[in-house]
């Protein structure tokens, strides 16, 4: 059962030009502060981590009357910054590996926004391989996502307007990043960096160039952005804090009871009916 790819195979046509120009811009910034960077580039910042909050997943639409037996849904798989910032600052390219029944199941996306649209009928696991820029990390990171086409609630009729959205929040953590990486991204919105002591002399990032890049690779105005989920840590933190409080109170009570028991081992305890 061959799958026909109707939509574009590579996400973001506009980013092909953007990708190369952003590279040269990075190169320019590199050349200006070359001496500095060469000295500090290979140094790693101990006990420092840089984290990149990401959201990855799929959005799938039923094709309705256009649906055929082997082509019932159109879907998009993507990875975006958690606040829709441009991940291109960290990620060089993303490789989406589809089910082998697709033509050329290995789809490479060279520039942000890192996404891929396809159509088909089946649900399967998609491998999302993140390849980072050379100063970030030379090891790739693989994410796994199950493509969901059919809604949980199977009772109602499918709608072509309301898609099935599955998104996962996570954070990519780089431990002991290189100084050059840190310097490059320290002011970028897509990245969380700790505050370092000012005694460390890091070359400043090329801010203006970054701005231009940002406009192209971010997903703030993405056509599918209306379906993006909101991930707020506040909710979860609240729940966790409340839960911890309860548990701690309970622990305290039990400790008191244990002390009582230890103090008076022969005490007769009345059996309460409750």
């Amino acid at each position: 059962m061959p799958h026909n790819s109707s939509a574009r195979k590579h996400g973001g046509e506009q980013s092909d030009g953007g990708g190369s120009s952003s590279k040269s811009q990075r190169g320019k910034a590199g050349r200006v502060t070359e001496d500095n960077e060469k000295k500090s580039s290979s140094k790693r910042l101990k006990d420092v981590e840089i984290s990149v909050p990401i959201v990855y997943g799929t959005i799938s639409f039923w094709l309705g009357k256009k649906a055929s037996e082997y082509n019932s849904h159109k879907w998009t798989v993507y990875i975006r910054g958690a606040s829709n910032e441009d991940l291109g600052v960290v990620i060089k390219r993303v490789v989406f590996t589809l089910h082998p029944s697709f033509n050329n199941p290995t789809r490479v996306v060279e520039a942000p926004p890192f996404e891929l649209s396809e159509s088909g009928w089946g649900e399967f696991e998609i491998v999302i391989s993140l390849h980072f820029h050379s100063d970030v990390c030379d090891k790739q990171l693989d994410l796994y996502h199950h493509l969901k086409l059919y809604p949980e609630d199977e009772s109602g009729p499918q709608s072509t307007k309301k898609p099935v959205v599955v998104e996962t929040y996570d954070e990519v953590v780089f431990s002991e990043p290189s100084e050059s990486f840190f310097a490059r991204v320290q002011n970028h919105q897509a990245v969380i960096v700790p505050r370092l002591s000012p005694s460390l002399n890091l070359p400043p990032p090329g801010s203006i160039d970054n701005m231009n890049e940002k406009k192209r690779g971010d997903t703030k105005d993405h056509p599918l952005s209306q379906w993006f989920m909101n991930f707020s840590e506040a909710d979860e933190l609240l729940k966790l804090a409340a839960a911890r409080q309860q548990v701690q109170a309970h622990i305290a009570k039990l400790r008191r009871q244990l002390n009582v028991l230890d103090g008076q081992p022969q005490q007769f305890k009345p059996t309460a009916g409750q």
């Binding site: 190169g27 050349r31 960077e37 060469k38 580039s41 290979s42 140094k43 910042l45 006990d47 981590e49 984290s51 909050p53 050379s134 100063d135 970030v136 990390c137 030379d138 090891k139 990171l141 994410l143 929040y169 996570d170 954070e171 990519v172 953590v173 780089f174 431990s175 002991e176 290189s178 050059s180 700790p194 505050r195 370092l196 002591s197 005694s199 460390l200 991930f231 840590e233 979860e236 933190l237 729940k239 966790l240 409340a242 839960a243 911890r244 309860q246 548990v247 109170a249 309970h250 622990i251 009570k253 039990l254 400790r255 009871q257 244990l258 022969q266 305890k269 059996t271 309460a272 409750q274």
Partner: protein, 430 residues
């Protein structure tokens, strides 16, 4: 045939022709060339597939026509001997020219210069008040250390000035015990490496080579700065780093530790496991999973399940939906606290069971009074406390309760579940 002779059986006409026929055949079969029959039989009656000794080597190799070889019984001396003993041996003389030179085995007579010290010197420099009094078994390295340090001391003491002996190997490079122990340990590790380990190492080195090569290409193409090598796997991480760094052209300088604001909301147990840190890049959820596993390593599967049930009862996601750094830290702490809670509950239950067995009362009710008291104190509206303590309240009521006190039986099985009565979980859990 011989057996039959021994037994005195007559050779029947039946057997005779049999013997006659196979015998000539066997004889012709058996008769090998070049070696006697018995020796041939030693090989199991089969000829070896390949000659073990090249037959041509057995012939005389040097042609007697070029040279004249004689053997003479001659005396010789050896530099290895300190006496003047005169020994004789056969010498192969070629063309009447006797061989010259020292006895060929004299070079193996190695000797070690051992430092000899006097009693005076011993008392002055070498006495160690404690060590000399007690006999103890010592390792080879310790003995060596003692020997070398003693020699060194004597050398230094005898030298007119320290400059004289500075060139002596003992003074220049003193024996380093720990290094020697390490070195020997490393050697034995290398020696005892299994084939699998060798293969793994070869793979790691090959990968390191590939990485460095690709990096060389990248370096040329992109004008990218040099950066640290990546590690291959967590298990071999430490060895890999050593190997890879030796291969990689980009050597990492020792880093001055950056002064950094410590990561927020981390307790003692929440620092990233070193195996993950070595990976350089990882997902926070994976890090959390590892830390959760580490924290629950002492707990059994059932306990872990109960922790997760408790989480659910508390309205907390078993796997955080928004795994930020602080969320993960809080989550981990919560799990640990729940484990503590469960342990305390078990302790309490055990203590209670002990106490009640001492009292020697018969049980008609479930001895869950301490917990009942605890429950009453807590807000009953919250779904967490009363029923969830039973951890699956519907099921537990049917189970028997095991007693920790030996030989103790409750005449009545646990009373049928009543709506308001909290149930005890099995004491055997975890």
């Amino acid at each position: 045939m011989d057996a039959k002779d021994i037994l005195g059986l007559s050779k029947t006409s039946f057997s005779a022709p049999q013997e006659k026929k196979p015998r000539p055949q066997k004889d012709s079969q058996r008769k090998p060339d070049g070696i006697s029959r018995e020796v041939y039989a030693l090989t199991g009656g089969l000829a070896p597939l390949m000659p073990s000794v090249d037959v041509s080597h057995l012939k005389r190799q040097s042609q007697p026509d070029n040279e004249k070889i004689t053997w003479r019984w001659l005396p010789f001396t050896s530099s290895a001997r300190t006496d003047n003993l005169q020994l004789y041996h056969w010498v192969r003389i070629v063309n009447d020219v006797p061989p010259t030179g020292d006895y060929s085995f004299a070079k193996y007579n190695k000797s070690v210069d051992i430092v000899k010290y006097t009693e005076e010197e011993y008392e002055k420099y070498l006495t160690d008040p404690v060590a000399d009094r007690f006999p103890s078994s010592r390792t080879v390295e310790e003995l060596k250390d003692r020997y070398y340090s003693v020699s060194r001391e004597i050398l230094l003491a005898r030298a007119a000035s320290s400059a004289d002996v500075a060139g002596h190997p003992l003074v220049k490079e003193p024996y380093n015990v720990e290094q020697e122990i390490e070195r020997k340990r490393a050697l034995s590790m290398v020696l005892s490496q299994t084939k699998q380990q060798e293969r793994k190492d070869a793979e790691v080195l090959a990968e390191a080579k590939r990485i460095t090569e690709s990096r060389m290409i990248d370096k040329g193409a992109e004008e990218a700065e040099l950066h640290a090598t990546s590690t291959v796997g967590a298990e071999n991480a430490e060895r890999a780093i050593v190997d890879v760094e030796s291969v990689s052209p980009s050597s990492n300088n020792q880093l001055p530790t950056a002064v950094v604001a410590p990561p927020t909301a981390t307790g003692d147990g929440t620092s990233t496991p070193s195996s993950l840190r070595l990976l350089r890049v990882y997902l926070r959820t994976d890090a959390l999973d590892q830390m959760v596993q580490a924290a629950s390593s002492s707990a059994g599967l059932r306990t872990v399940k109960r922790v997760e049930q408790t989480l659910q009862d508390l309205g907390v996601n078993v796997k955080p939906k928004v795994p930020t750094k602080s969320v993960c830290a809080e989550h981990l702490e919560l799990r640990k606290e729940i484990l503590t809670l469960l342990n305390l509950q078990k302790q309490l239950q055990n203590k209670e069971a002990e106490a009640s067995s001492l009292r020697d009362n018969s049980y008609t009710d479930i001895p869950s009074t301490p917990k009942q008291r605890a429950n009453r104190g807590v807000d009953q509206d919250r779904s967490f406390i009363p029923d969830s303590l039973s951890f699956g309240g519907e099921r537990v009521g049917k189970r028997d309760q095991k007693r920790k006190a030996p030989g103790r039986f409750s005449e009545a099985p646990p009373s049928p579940p009543q709506s308001k009565r909290p149930r005890k979980f099995k004491a055997s859990d975890g």
